[in-house]
């Protein structure tokens, strides 16, 4: 019984991708892809943030810890950031973050930063499809057995 189950699960594995899209470019590209009735891999759970620079590396670790198989960050092209240089900050953090994740045994394909403008719905579709394919081939991201993350800290004070 368990053999059959395992085979079926493996065959049916669909990756869960958490996608942080900036409000001004990549989220609009996703919107455009939708209104243009484009078909693409439905694996991403999109979270809209005001800017890719808002994506704290903690968000990415948290996504993996909570069962994501991949994380995609989408922002405006360099020079086009609504906040001047939020996407550059995202790139700086991402460069270090990717190295840390690799050191922790997370495959590079599971974490991706893409510049996708509001007009590039086709590019969004291609990135989504490609990433879903790559992660499907890698298999599920699995936290090690016995690796139980501690509870969130008790907030000691609430900022004003």
């Amino acid at each position: 019984m368990s053999d059959t189950d395992t085979t079926e699960t493996a065959a049916a594995f669909e990756p869960t991708i958490v996608a942080f899209f900036c409000n001004w470019c990549t989220y609009l590209a996703a919107d455009l892809a939708g209104t243009s009735r484009m078909k693409y891999a439905p694996n991403a759970r999109i979270i809209r943030v005001m800017c890719s620079g808002r994506v704290d590396p903690q968000f990415v670790f948290d996504a993996f810890a909570k069962g994501a198989d991949g994380v995609l960050i989408g922002g405006c092209h360099p020079g086009d950031c609504h906040y001047q240089e939020g996407n550059t900050k995202a790139l700086r953090r991402f460069t270090l973050l990717r190295r840390m994740l690799t050191d922790l045994g997370v495959e590079e394909e599971r974490i991706r930063l893409e510049w996708i403008s509001a007009a590039e719905a086709d590019r969004l579709r291609d990135v989504m499809n490609e990433m879903a394919d790559q992660i499907r081939a890698l298999g599920p991201f699995r936290l090690p057995d016995g690796a139980v993350a501690p509870a969130a800290p008790r907030r000691e004070e609430v900022p004003a």
Partner: protein
């Protein structure tokens, strides 16, 4: 005499520095010894596990436990002390977040045994003998505690009431914690007993930290002679002060060495290393991807830098093992 509250000290996977820190209380230690009855402290007193087992549950006021949990024996002792003590205190970075021993989470038991007992240059072990949990010798059964793949912080094993942070905790922090415990004037359970602000806020050099701080090369302490009055980050040294809890009095910075993060994060941060990495990376003074890569490559070991004291306490806990690996 019998009215004195009982306390216990115990060490798990640790270096002994936390025990030193208790002795570092100097003459204040005499005050502590007057006020409490130290019923269990294997490093200093001849008391045994059986003595603790013989106590009533909750008989001990507080157990101060330092060190991370990596063996079966340590886990058993943690559960025993939790039963006997009304207040469980994680003492020092290792029990708070996993500490330096927690970096072993970049490997697993097999890799560690292989290195330590087989392949390290100073090992002479032609028969490839590695520790076993049980061994029969001349008709005697000998046992050793089991060794875990994953090092854990104290709160990943049992409920922890308070944390005294630091590697090792500083005398002011220990004295304040003991004082609070004895007076009964305690904050809500789960509190880290140190100020909930970043170290920069109590650093003497904070006024020399530029508003638009950028870094074009990360330097290591041995590579430069750092100015003794200027913010270390402004001099290119990777100081974790902006992402680390205050309370130590910026001792390392006083010795012209950057903060390495032993007090852990403030309560608004979930993953110390991720937050610290985010804070430091955004200081990189470049826009071009290759230049960013080059500057960040001057940080030789990001995990060992940003998770120096807290890999087990991070969101990912440890390096991912290949699928099918057993715990």
């Amino acid at each position: 005499m019998t009215a004195k509250p009982k306390v216990a000290f115990y060490w798990l996977a640790s270096c002994g520095g936390c025990e030193e820190a208790v002795v570092d209380l100097a003459e204040d230690l005499l005050g502590v010894a007057d006020a409490v009855d130290i019923v269990f402290w294997p490093v200093a007193l001849d008391s045994k596990r059986a003595d603790v087992e013989a106590m009533e549950d909750g008989e001990i006021l507080a157990a101060f436990v330092n060190g991370a949990v990596r063996t079966d024996e340590q886990e058993e002792m943690v559960h025993l002390l939790r039963r006997k003590a009304r207040v469980m205190v994680a003492f020092g970075s290792c029990s708070h977040m996993g500490g330096i021993p927690g970096l072993a989470n970049l490997w697993d038991k097999e890799a560690i045994f292989d290195r330590v007992y087989r392949t390290s240059p100073t090992t002479d072990n032609p028969d490839g003998v590695v520790p076993k949990t049980e061994y029969a010798s001349n008709g005697h059964r000998v046992t050793l505690p089991g060794f875990h793949d994953t090092v854990r912080a104290l709160d990943q094993v049992t409920t922890v009431d308070y944390v005294v942070p630091g590697c090792a905790p500083t005398p002011n922090i220990i004295a304040a914690a003991v004082g609070a415990l004895l007076s009964g004037d305690l904050p809500p359970a789960g509190t880290v007993l140190a100020p909930d602000v970043a170290l920069c806020s109590e650093c003497d050099r904070r006024d020399t930290k530029p508003d638009d701080l950028t870094i074009t090369e990360f330097k290591r302490p041995h590579q430069i002679i750092a100015d003794e009055d200027t913010c270390l980050l402004a001099q290119g040294l990777l100081c974790l002060g902006p992402a680390t809890r205050a309370g130590c009095g910026a001792l390392c910075i006083g010795a012209n060495m950057p903060c390495t993060g032993c007090f852990g994060p403030t309560s608004s941060v979930r993953d110390h290393g991720a937050k610290a990495a985010g804070a430091i990376a955004s200081l990189v003074g470049a826009d071009d991807p290759e230049e960013i890569e080059r500057i960040l490559s001057t940080i030789p070991d990001p995990i060992g830098t940003f998770y120096r004291y807290g890999l087990p306490h991070s969101l990912l806990v440890r390096k991912r093992q290949p699928a099918g690996a057993t715990e």
